[in-house]
């Protein structure tokens, strides 16, 4: 890097999948950031300095993530990262960030371990997230399902090879059983599977459940929902935040009607319209096509920007401290406060119901953490 | 022939493939340090016999004894280890390796150093490698392959490949050498050279040679004793002179040379 030009610029890094099968999410996120950086620079930058965004592809691969991060830090002088959007990569990234003492904030890495250590629950100093964590979402859905939807027995079909699906399954089960429900049957499948009828047949034969929980990405959700209906499973489904993808309707509109799921944000909120229009105009692409990622990337940028401003100088350590102390910051999707002990955000969660091809917000719901 | 002189005893051996009986109750005794010919029409079971001696095929019935010890049922490499080497009718060289590498590989039987010597290239390894190198080079001179040293075995002319295969077999220091049609693809002059070469091998190395071939000039010239197979059974046995005159052999195999 060139020393003299570095000091008068603020260099942010984005790490995410630009190639490979998850590229669509990386694209939505990186485009959002490109747009925001451009806007910020038009308004005079941050602290009067020009913001530069560097984009690094990681193919959703943890090893590549660390390579990219080293390059960003060493060659390009990045002072804070936004992304990546999967937990496994976020955890891998943290190892590098810890070494260089540079903060990063994941858009959708929901796993507990992204911000906290497994052994003792201690916080990972440089790791933040803008979304809710799996335990938070699991709590919400477990309690909501039992208390509001009146579901007493649940079946789960989950992806054993996916940390996200696995995490939610565990946290949902914990929360659900704590309040009095019971998970009667759990079946697993592997990443990449497209046929779930063997598992679903077994679930159907077991029969003893009021709702089928499907903690999965929308493709699997769509296929599972279709196949479950085709096999004659008539019980309702329960979903998770990853359901918030419009493409789901294309795959399985009929099958998922009436399903409830929680999400940390409302993609139909009115205040998103302006952003959506700008985005659409600039990139000829509906940010909603990639689910919630673009909006979370927006939040992340605001948290980082706010932190740099509060820190007063582009010093990674100070930015980190400021991020940790984010309080009641109005972001795109919610007001956000970062909990210093966990680096999880405190933010509203909403429950959605699928009606027609709409995600209808039913209510905002904060779980009772005392239960 | 006294028992002690018998180095290889083939005892009532039978081999069947499905419906085909390729070798049918054959017994042959092979004398130490002799050159023993095995001839017979195509498909008589000669190669099959070799395959059984070297453990590539199991025998359907009967036994094979090497120096009084039963060897059928053992694996090919164990038999090679005991000292029976062979060449193949359909030449089987290490085609992508050079002539020298083919020969060096065959020295493995006489190299005793272990795995760790190999990894660490100990002095034991070095000295043994050096002597192997020397042995190979001598062999190349002896067999006349020096000029081909760095050529890939697969690219050699047919006759040269045959010589290389013999050389490779010899490098395992066998006490019995089985040659399956070594003169195939050689003209009469080259066959003559081969005959002399085989005789020399026997003299210099104290080994027993069993040879299959359809070149009667070679067989009659070098063999001490000949066994004739026909349709899997032993048709005749005797010295070259006897065999040449044997009417049944002439009918079944030799024909009358114009």
């Amino acid at each position: 890097g060139n020393e003299s030009s570095l000091s008068d610029k603020i260099i942010l890094g984005y790490i995410g999948p630009i190639t490979g099968e998850s590229a669509i999410w990386g694209e939505a996120e990186s485009n959002t950031l490109k747009m925001l950086v451009e806007e910020t620079n038009n308004q005079g930058g941050i602290l009067g300095k020009e913001v530069v965004l560097k984009i690094y592809d990681n193919r959703s691969d943890p090893v590549e993530t660390t390579n990219a991060a080293r390059r960003a830090l060493q060659n390009d002088g990045v002072i804070a990262f936004i992304g990546p959007n999967t937990s496994s990569c976020a955890i891998a990234l943290d190892e590098v960030c810890e070494e260089y003492k540079v903060p990063h904030i994941t858009t959708c890495g929901t796993n507990y371990k992204v911000t906290q250590r497994e052994e003792d629950g201690s916080v990972r100093k440089y790791s933040f997230r803008a979304c809710l964590s799996d335990p938070q979402l699991g709590d919400i859905m477990g309690q909501y399902a039992y208390e509001k939807l009146g579901i007493e027995k649940a079946a789960i079909i989950y992806e054993i090879t996916n940390e996200y699906s696995l995490g939610i399954t565990q946290n949902f089960t914990d929360a659900f059983e704590k309040v009095g429900g019971k998970v009667t049957i759990q079946e697993g499948y592997k990443t990449g599977d497209v046929d779930f009828r063997p598992q679903l047949s077994k679930i159907k034969a077991a029969g003893d459940f009021d709702a089928l929980m499907i903690p999965a990405n929308y493709k699997e959700v769509g296929l599972i929902a279709n196949q479950a209906r085709a096999l004659g499973i008539t019980q309702s489904f329960l979903g998770v935040d990853a359901w918030m993808m419009e493409d789901l309707f294309e795959i399985a509109k009929d099958a998922v009607q009436g399903t409830y799921f929680p999400c940390a944000m409302d993609v139909n909120a009115e205040n998103l319209e302006e952003f959506k229009n700008k985005f659409e105009e600039k990139f000829k692409m509906d940010p909603g096509k990639a689910g919630t990622n673009a909006y979370f990337a927006y939040d992340c940028f605001q948290i980082v920007k706010n932190a740099i401003e509060k820190a007063g100088e582009p010093d990674p350590q100070k930015i980190r401290d400021a991020m940790e102390n984010t309080k009641n910051l109005q972001c795109l999707t919610s007001v956000i406060t970062i909990v210093p002990e966990t680096h999880n955000p405190i933010r509203m969660a909403s429950i959605f119901k699928i009606e027609g091809d709409n995600f209808v917000k039913v209510e905002e719901y904060t779980p009772d953490y005392s239960k | 022939m006294s028992e002690q002189d018998v180095v290889l005893k083939i005892d009532h051996v039978v081999k069947r493939f499905g419906g085909i009986t390729a070798v049918n109750d054959v017994s042959i005794r092979i004398a130490k340090q002799s050159i023993h010919g095995i001839i017979g029409p195509n498909g008589a079971g000669k190669t099959t016999l070799f395959n059984m001696i070297t453990g590539i095929y199991n025998t359907t019935a009967g036994s094979i004894f090497f120096n009084g010890k039963k060897i059928n049922g053992k694996q090919t490499h164990e038999i090679a280890e005991l000292g029976i080497a062979r060449t193949f009718q359909n030449i089987r060289l290490f085609n992508d390796l050079t002539v020298y590498q083919n020969l060096l590989t065959a020295c493995q039987k006489n190299i005793t150093y272990g795995l760790f010597d190999g990894f660490l290239r100990t002095s034991k390894c070095k000295t043994q490698e050096m002597s192997a190198d020397k042995i190979c080079k001598n062999m190349m001179i002896e067999v006349g392959l020096s000029e081909y040293k760095e050529q890939k075995a697969g690219n050699l002319p047919y006759g040269t490949q045959r010589r290389l295969e013999i050389a490779r077999a010899l490098l395992t220091n066998p006490s019995i050498l089985l040659l399956d049609e070594p003169a195939a693809g050689m003209n009469e002059d080259e066959s003559l050279q081969l005959s002399n070469f085989i005789k020399e091998i026997r003299l210099n190395n104290d080994i027993t040679i069993i040879i299959i071939d359809h070149h009667m000039d070679v067989i009659m010239n070098i063999c001490d004793l000949i066994s004739v197979l026909n349709f899997g059974s032993l048709l005749a046995e005797g010295t070259p002179k006897e065999i040449q005159k044997n009417q049944r052999v002439i009918e079944a195999y030799l024909g009358v040379d114009e």
Binding site: - | P41, E181, D189
Partner: protein, 237 residues
């Protein structure tokens, strides 16, 4: 009708054939003899279209012979290669049928082959790879005839055959030739080859060093010394 003009071929740096020219008339047998590595097989492969010569031309009548080999076969030029190249995974009969790939009605061909080698009919379902060496050689020859060639290239057809059968094969070659098929014959059994050849030449180090009629060459002192060794032994005895 086969005309080879100034043919040269090398495998990378190794020169196999240098400037070879000869001509073969319709209905003749030509024998090529030479030591190991003289370039005989390479020459045959060039004619059959398996190798592409670096220089020179091969004419079959008015047609130029070039790779790939199937073109030569369609024109009636068929090679029975050294080392047999049978299809080990196919049955004996399938080998024959594949030999007659370009022929519509294969029945006469099969019948002829089974007449020629009666054992083949009994073994027609055996996997060719498990045949004995000599049996494979016979199969290769029979297979070569399946496509009714006008011109046959035989590369060491007697390889691995019992003496009795060698005589049969030589008779067979004569018979085939009598039906008007021209033959280019590479043989180590030089005496027998020269015995039936109308023309012959000697290849040494990739060059033709001698040519003449079969009779002339088998009487040639040098040739007797170099290639017909057996006579020498007998005379010494």
């Amino acid at each position: 009708m086969l005309k080879v003009e100034n043919l040269s071929f090398s495998y990378g740096k190794i020169r196999a054939i240098t400037n070879v020219s000869f001509e073969l008339k319709d209905g003749e047998i030509m024998a090529i003899i030479g030591a190991n590595g003289a370039g005989k097989s390479s020459l045959m492969k060039c004619i059959a279209g398996l190798l592409k010569p670096q220089a020179g031309n091969i004419w079959f009548g008015k047609i130029k012979l070039e790779p790939p080999p199937f073109k030569a076969v369609k024109k009636g030029v068929v090679l029975v290669p050294e080392g047999r190249w049978i299809f080990p995974n196919l049955s004996v009969e399938d080998n024959l049928l594949l030999g007659g790939y370009i022929i519509k009605d294969q029945r006469p061909g099969l019948k002829r082959a089974y007449n020629m080698f009666p054992w083949m009919e009994e073994r027609k379902t055996q996997r060719a790879g498990t045949l004995s060496g000599g049996e494979q050689q016979m199969l290769a020859i029979a297979r070569g005839l399946m496509s009714n060639p006008e011109f046959l290239l035989l590369d060491e057809p007697s390889l691995g055959l019992a003496p009795l059968i060698v005589n049969d094969i030589i008779e067979l070659i004569k018979m085939i030739n009598a039906q008007g098929i021209s033959i280019l014959l590479v043989e180590q059994n030089a005496r027998k080859a020269l015995g039936i050849a109308h023309q012959a030449c000697v290849l040494e180090g990739g060059k033709i060093v001698k040519r003449g009629s079969g009779k002339e060459l088998s009487a040639d002192e040098e040739i007797i010394a170099a290639y017909l060794g057996k006579k020498k032994i007998e005379s010494e005895e």
